[in-house]
C-alpha cells in the first residue's frame, strides 16, 4: 500500500495554447479532508477531472492508491461533478438501483437513510425537484459509496445555508480514516473548520499545501484571510 492516496507528479494540462495545469505536483495522505482552493479558472476542476480520468494529462502522471488512472482507480474514486448529470425522468429510487448495479461499493441502505433524513421522496421524479434538492440527491449518491477517494467539485457552490450545513455534516459524519475527501471551492469561510489541509492553486500552479491549523498558527490569520491576500485582484 502506497503511503499516499493521491499523488500527482509534474502534471500539466494544455487546452490549445492555454495552460490549465502547470507542472502540478502534490502528495495527499489517507483519512484527510482537503480543500482545493482557488479562484475561478485556477485549474481546480481540471485537476479533479484528471484524477478521475475524464481528461488526460499533457505530461506528468497521477497515481491513486499507487495505481495509474484507469478502471482500477475508478472503482475507488467517487466523484461529484460541478454540474449534475442526473436525468430528470428518473427518481432517486431509480438511481439507487442504478448505482447499486454499477458500483460494488455502493451502500443503498445509507442512501435511503440520507434521503429519509432530508425528507426526500425516493419515488419523486427529479424534474419536479428544486435545483438544491437535486444537488442533495447527487451528493447522497456520491457519499453513499464506500470509496477511498471522494472528489467533490464545488459541492457548496449553489445551495442555501441549510443545505450547506447538511452537506458539511454529511462529510463529517461519513469520515473514514482510510478515505480522503477533496473538496474544491472558492467559499472558504464555511468549510475551513472542516478541513485538515488546504491546497492553494493559482493559474494552474501549486501555491501552498499545508494543514489548516499550521496556517493559522504561522500566519495568525484564517485560511480565508490568507486566501484573500494571495489572490488579491
Amino acid at each position: 500500500m502506497s503511503d499516499f492516496l493521491l499523488e500527482a507528479r509534474g502534471v500539466s494540462k494544455l487546452f490549445g495554447n492555454k495552460t490549465a495545469l502547470d507542472n502540478f505536483s502534490i502528495r495527499i495522505g489517507r483519512g484527510k479532508l482537503v480543500g482545493l482552493l482557488g479562484p475561478n479558472g485556477s485549474g481546480k476542476s481540471t485537476f479533479i477531472k484528471l484524477c478521475n480520468g475524464l481528461l488526460q494529462p499533457s505530461s506528468g502522471e497521477i497515481l491513486i492508491d499507487g495505481k495509474s488512472i484507469g478502471i482500477e482507480t475508478k472503482k475507488i474514486v467517487s466523484y461529484l461533478p460541478e454540474r449534475t448529470y442526473l436525468d430528470n425522468g428518473m427518481s432517486p429510487k431509480d438511481y439507487i438501483q442504478y448505482f447499486s448495479d454499477f458500483y460494488e461499493d455502493f451502500d443503498p441502505k445509507k442512501a435511503n437513510e440520507m434521503l429519509g433524513n432530508l425528507k426526500i421522496d425516493p419515488e419523486q421524479k427529479l424534474k419536479t425537484m428544486s435545483k438544491g434538492t437535486k444537488e442533495k440527491v447527487q451528493l447522497i449518491l456520491v457519499m453513499s459509496r464506500n470509496a477511498k477517494l471522494y472528489l467533490l467539485d464545488e459541492p457548496i457552490g449553489g445551495v442555501d445555508p441549510a443545505a450547506r450545513d447538511y452537506i458539511l455534516n454529511t462529510i463529517i459524519r461519513n469520515y473514514n480514516p482510510e478515505a480522503t475527501v477533496v473538496i474544491s471551492t472558492h467559499l472558504i469561510t464555511d468549510i475551513e473548520p472542516v478541513l485538515d489541509e488546504a491546497i492553494f492553486i493559482k493559474d494552474g500552479q501549486l501555491v501552498l499545501y499545508m494543514p489548516v491549523d499550521d496556517i493559522r498558527e504561522r500566519e495568525g490569520k484564517s485560511v480565508d484571510a490568507l486566501f484573500r491576500e494571495v489572490f488579491r485582484c
Binding site: K32, I172, Y175, R216
Partner: protein, 120 residues
C-alpha cells in the same frame, strides 16, 4: 449549530478551550460520558481529526480518560477540575487586568470599581 471560532488562532486550541470550559462549568459533570468524536465534530462542524487531537490533549491533562468499550469519560477527580477552573479564571483575570491597566486604572481603583458593581 456550529461552534464559533476566532479567525486568528488554530481551531485545535479553540476546541480544547471550549471543551475545557464545558467541563469546568459543569455542563459535563464528573464521570459523564463524552459524546463520540463523530458526534462532537458533527455538532461543532469541525474536522474529526482536529477534534480527536483536542480530546487527546484533554486526556493528557487528565480531564478526560478513555474506557476501552464505552468511549471517553470526564474525570471523577473533582480536585483536578477545580484546579483547572482556577487556572482558567486566573488567565481571564490577567487579561482583564491588562486591559484595565491600559485604560489607566490602578489595582486599588479596580478593586473599588468591582466592589461597587457587586453592591449594585
Amino acid at each position: 449549530m456550529a461552534w464559533d471560532f476566532e479567525s486568528d488562532r488554530p481551531i485545535y486550541t479553540q476546541l480544547l478551550e471550549k471543551i475545557q470550559q464545558m467541563i469546568i462549568s459543569g455542563k459535563y459533570q464528573p464521570g459523564d460520558r463524552l459524546p463520540s468524536v463523530r458526534d462532537l465534530s458533527t455538532e461543532a462542524e469541525v474536522n474529526p481529526n482536529t477534534m480527536q487531537r483536542a480530546l487527546q490533549e484533554l486526556e493528557r491533562q487528565g480531564l478526560v480518560y478513555s474506557q476501552r468499550t464505552s468511549g471517553r469519560m470526564i474525570t471523577d477527580d473533582i480536585v483536578l477540575i477545580k484546579a483547572m477552573k482556577q487556572k482558567v479564571a486566573i488567565e481571564y483575570m490577567k487579561k482583564f487586568l491588562g486591559t484595565m491597566k491600559e485604560l489607566g486604572f490602578s489595582k486599588a481603583e479596580i478593586i473599588e470599581l468591582l466592589s461597587d458593581m457587586n453592591s449594585e
